[in-house]
Amino acid sequence: MNISLSITKNIHDWLFEVMSAPFATVVENVLIAVAFLAFFALAGLLLVWMERRIAAFFQLRLGPNRVGPMGLFQTIADALKLVSKELTGPDKADKFLYNLAPYFVIVASLMALSVLPFSQEFHAFDINIGVFFLIAVSSIGVIGILLGGWSSNNKYSLIGAMRSGLQTISYELSVGLSILTIVVLAGSLQISEIIAAQQAGGWFIIQGHIPAMIAFMIFMIAGTAETNRAPFDLIEAESELGAGFHTEYSGMKFAYFFLAEFINMFIIAAIGVILFFGGWLSPFGITESIPLLGIFWFMLKVLGLIFLMMWFRWTFPRLRVDQLLTLEWKYLLPINLFNIVLMAVIVWLGLTINF
């Protein structure tokens, strides 16, 4: 027996029952925006806490443990501190762009968030080009970083921004191509259909076996680079550039950049889960009948991938800027192109593993 969740659909129907259509649309959009902003803030704070705790355990430390149980409220305290701080900025900065930059970063990650399905029929926006939309939207963020670095009138920021430009442009390719590999397997760009295909025939990482695993590895590497995290944190590179592009930002504007980094990490992990690990599907279909648990499985898998990214960060040294490009153009890209062909051949010959 299937208990249909359909939360979003129910709310949608109810809104359109009690109000006129244009008004309901406005209310619905506002509700969605508020929900996502709340999620943005909460998930960001939780991820910051998680990062600090996990980093501490890797480094034989305790991490934040004073504010709240296990230091859970530490990041909230930090956020409050950041809100109350004065917003200082360099005198000769390009004020308009300088102030605009953090919002670009935030808007980009919020837009990407909107197409993620948290469980069956529990998403804001199930567009039929979902994956394409994700790739397109996630590249907007770099404009914010470039603007922020350029307009700060600081040479360290500028170097960071330029590095971010070349890094994102290069690794966008790898993210796109590895996603494309899975699209070949799924035969659709719509996220709900991708998950449906995995419900029918097993998670894509098993279904597509070798090429899917290669694609997953490339996706994780390129995804880490996309989110500008170590070992690809050249744009911040605290031992080289101080703080990179956000050197001159303070208070809440800095916090926007900071939170956006963590939300981007969440998004990359979520895409990885949707494409390779069956989204909100439970392993072996054990809780298929209770769609509400889909949220649990989805978050669990996402946190698993986020943990992997944190593990990368706290283990590896940083790459140099030319090695970053070598890795992309000499290793990831050719392998990726070959991988797509391999996947196409496997799909064509029907060599996928289906349960």
Binding site: F57, L60, L62, W311, W314, F316
Partner: protein, 160 residues
């Protein structure tokens, strides 16, 4: 082909690195070395030789062992010690001898080199293991080591 062996070796070394940090992550409970300082203040004990600050021990009769010979003052490289002394008449012999009025110690100028304690011929000053010496007021770092009304212990003489 070196291209593929490069990839293989690269991934292998990365995974070995991750295994080291991963091992520590799993054993984090045992391995954590952080000391939670203000919480363990009561149990935290310094080593006997720890150089906290210079003190002058007094016995139960409020007597110290300082003869006012000023050797510590001379030995100090930074001028952290100032001794204000006077001549008093010794009760036993009736001769005039030196006696300290104030043994002033500027903790703010002290570099904890220990030369004064080495120089002291009568062991009048020693290290205390007191480690939290910070203060909001600089004047509190200037200390008078001999207690008010204290006297020199009988029998303590300058070695000539």
């Amino acid at each position: 082909m070196s291209y593929f062996s490069d990839i293989y070796n690269g991934v292998k070394t990365l995974l070995t690195g991750m295994s080291v940090t991963g091992k520590y992550f799993i054993n984090a409970r045992k391995e954590i070395i952080t000391q939670e300082f203000p919480n363990n203040r009561a149990t935290l004990k310094m080593f006997d030789r720890f150089r906290g600050e210079v003190v002058m021990p007094h016995d139960e009769n409020n007597e110290h062992r300082c003869t006012g010979c000023q050797k510590c003052e001379l030995a100090c490289p930074n001028g952290s010690i100032e001794i204000i002394w006077d001549r008093v008449i010794d009760e036993e012999t009736g001769k005039k001898i030196k006696a300290i009025d104030k043994h002033i110690y500027h903790l703010s100028m002290c570099t904890m080199c220990g030369l004064c304690i080495e120089a002291c011929p009568t062991d009048a000053i020693k290290w205390s293991q007191n480690f939290s010496n910070s203060s909001y007021d600089r004047t509190q770092l200037t200390k008078v080591l001999n207690k008010p009304g204290s006297k020199i212990a009988p029998g303590v003489k300058d070695k000539e």
